[in-house]
Amino acid sequence: MGIGVSIGVISPVTEPSPGGAAAVVATAEARLAARRRSVEAFAVPSAAILGALILFGIFVALTGRNPLAVYHEMYRGSFGTWFSFQNTLQRAAPLMLTALATALPLRLGLVVLGGEGAMVLGGLAAAAVGVHLHSPMSVKVGMFVVGALVGGAWVAGAGVLRAYRGVNETISTLLLNYIAIALLNHMVEGPLRDPASLNKPSTLPIGDDNMLGNLPGLDVHWGLAFGVAACLLAWFLMQRTTFGFAARMVGGNVRAALLNGLPVRRLIVVATFLGGLGAGLAGAVEVAAIHGTANASLVTGYGYTGVLVAFIARGNPLGVVPVALLLGGIGASGGLLQRVFDLPDATVNVLQGIIFLSILFSDSLYGRRWARKPAVAA
């Protein structure tokens, strides 16, 4: 990270303040508050998800089905069997990557929804490059690098507009999603179309030998490892580097960040670029591991589910991993719900929507019952 690392201004804040007993009491208070916060960070979202499950149970009961039976099937279809668990892992992988497109800018206080478009274009670019490379290794590396860079550039575009032009990033990224999907359709039905793809216009296949394989001993492709690694990297970047500190400072208080001389605009562009890298990689992995070619199947909605993942994880990349597993599991169980209970495929979306609303409502619960006002030392 060459940009924005050199920040010498903030060191005075971190120096220990001189003083006697009052300072000791203050640090003890602070430690207690920190512990309280970490308990909250787990307890509040868990309670919110539980509340959402109860609400969804009522909704299901209103349609005349037994909610407990529905939840039992959902468990069987997501985590209950080895087969379904692998399906869950397979779906969680792209969610971890697309979630980063929202999670990283969220730390700066930006609401970016561009994961879907970055994923679609990342996949398209990866497929377009993949067919021109030859050895299996170069195909994969080329696809991942190009896919990630295209995704990064796409979301960073919205970051540039936000930073240098003040364009609302939420609206611009949503519009960019529609434009990306139109570009995909145009390219796979026009310039990049494989003449042999009749029913479903697609780009030329990258070839079976060049496909991304499975993790050893699992029926899950390597994308899962990429997802977990990307989240760990992003977590390290945000929590353990000066870049991350600066970014979080912008999210905490833009004016304070500006007064401290932080390059806020560059931080915004870099954070959106890094987030976009993840979503673009997700598209490249989908092409390399599952479809083997770019076509309309790339428009999966993983980008939007990734937004939900990022919000539940409150923008913390480490939280993205378990939340992606949870939502991947919900997605994996959708097919079973259709077959066993004759529920529409949108059932999963309803549950996701309820979870999202419940999580947002839970934002008002932080620091409510647990945090008492710190006693003022006289």
Binding site: V111, V167, I171, S172, H186, E189, Y304, V307, G353, S364
Partner: protein, 313 residues
């Protein structure tokens, strides 16, 4: 369609232009209602990004009620009622401490669309009675002109609503209260107004109009219920309010412009231009993006923007 083209026939370019005028009127109606609704909500100092969900829920509810009662106007009312409920949910959630209104909007967008698809599953297939249309092309002998000016009753209602929203916001006590809350919550609080309640009501009113806009999609054009009905019109309408500088009359003009841009793809296709179809269909999104880029500014507050929104960003 009476093919009596007056004189030597309409040229291809004329056909495209005519198609775009007709399309502008036809396609602009949902834009108009959603943007008027969002205009009211934003005037009170709150953003509701979830109107895309409201639009789709409205479309589904209108189609269902119109099918069950054979009265399309009851369907329009039902769509508005759905919008009121979703708006109330938005307003209530946003009044909780530390809850972000942009995020709530996104959540309601996903929830509204999901719920509409869930409940609307049995409505894919059956046909519901449509809304009537008004013919404004009686003066022309050209069949093409007349079909382009076959205007929907809801569009006429939209014109009246534009005038009504403008009047209420500018000339009435309610409008003054809404604008005060949007310009300075502190001043409004000092005057004894309940900020949360005013914003809740403004969001509910906005939801009502957005729901009515949705009923147009399923009851007139395209005129049936399916899952691909809305392609982000609710979202573009929110961007359009920024472009229209929070003014109802400019919302109307902007809606017509966007309707025309949306009609470009189909109009070109009807005269035989099919290459680049998807790119032309992306025209409204590109136009929206271009417009918000051009009208935004790095350091200057937008003209006419409610001050409370400025502080929220």
């Amino acid at each position: 369609m009476g093919a009596q083209t007056g004189g030597g026939g309409v040229s291809a370019a004329g056909g495209v232009a005519l198609g775009m005028v007709g399309g502008a009127i036809r396609i602009s109606t949902p834009f108009l209602f959603v943007s008027l609704g969002e205009c009211i909500t934003e005037k009170s100092g709150r953003v509701n990004l979830g109107l895309e969900g409201t639009l789709v829920m409205g479309a589904m509810a209108a189609y269902g009620v119109s099918y069950l009662t054979s009265s399309p106007w009851l369907g329009v009312l039902a769509a508005g009622a759905c919008g009121v409920v979703l708006g109330a949910l938005h307003g209530w959630l946003c009044a909780r401490p530390r809850v972000n209104d942009v995020a709530v909007g996104i959540a309601l967008m996903l929830f509204g669309v999901g719920l509409a698809f869930f409940l609307g599953k049995p409505l894919i297939g059956p046909t519901a009675p449509h809304l009537p249309s008004v013919s404004l092309g009686w003066w022309s002998a050209s069949g093409q002109v007349r079909s382009a000016l076959q205007v929907n009753a809801l569009f006429v209602l939209g014109l009246l609503t534009t005038a009504a929203v403008r009047f209420v916001l500018r000339k009435t006590r309610w409008g003054l209260v809404i604008r005060t809350v949007g310009e300075s919550a502190d001043a409004a609080r000092a005057m004894g107004y309940d900020i949360a309640r005013v914003r809740l009501l403004a969001t509910m009113a906005g939801g009502f109009l957005a729901g009515v806009g949705g009923s147009f999609l399923s009851l007139f054009y395209p005129g049936s219920w399916n899952e691909g009905l809305s392609s982000g019109q609710g979202l573009m309408a929110v961007a359009l309010v920024i472009f229209a500088r929070w003014d109802p009359v400019r919302c109307l003009l902007a809606s017509l412009l966007f309707g025309g841009a949306s009609a470009l793809g189909p109009a070109l296709q009807s005269v035989g231009v099919t290459s680049g179809y998807y790119l032309f269909n992306a025209a409204p999104y590109v136009l929206t993006l271009a417009i918000i880029v051009l009208t935004s500014s790095r350091d200057r507050a937008l003209l006419g923007q409610p001050a409370e929104l400025r502080m929220a960003r």
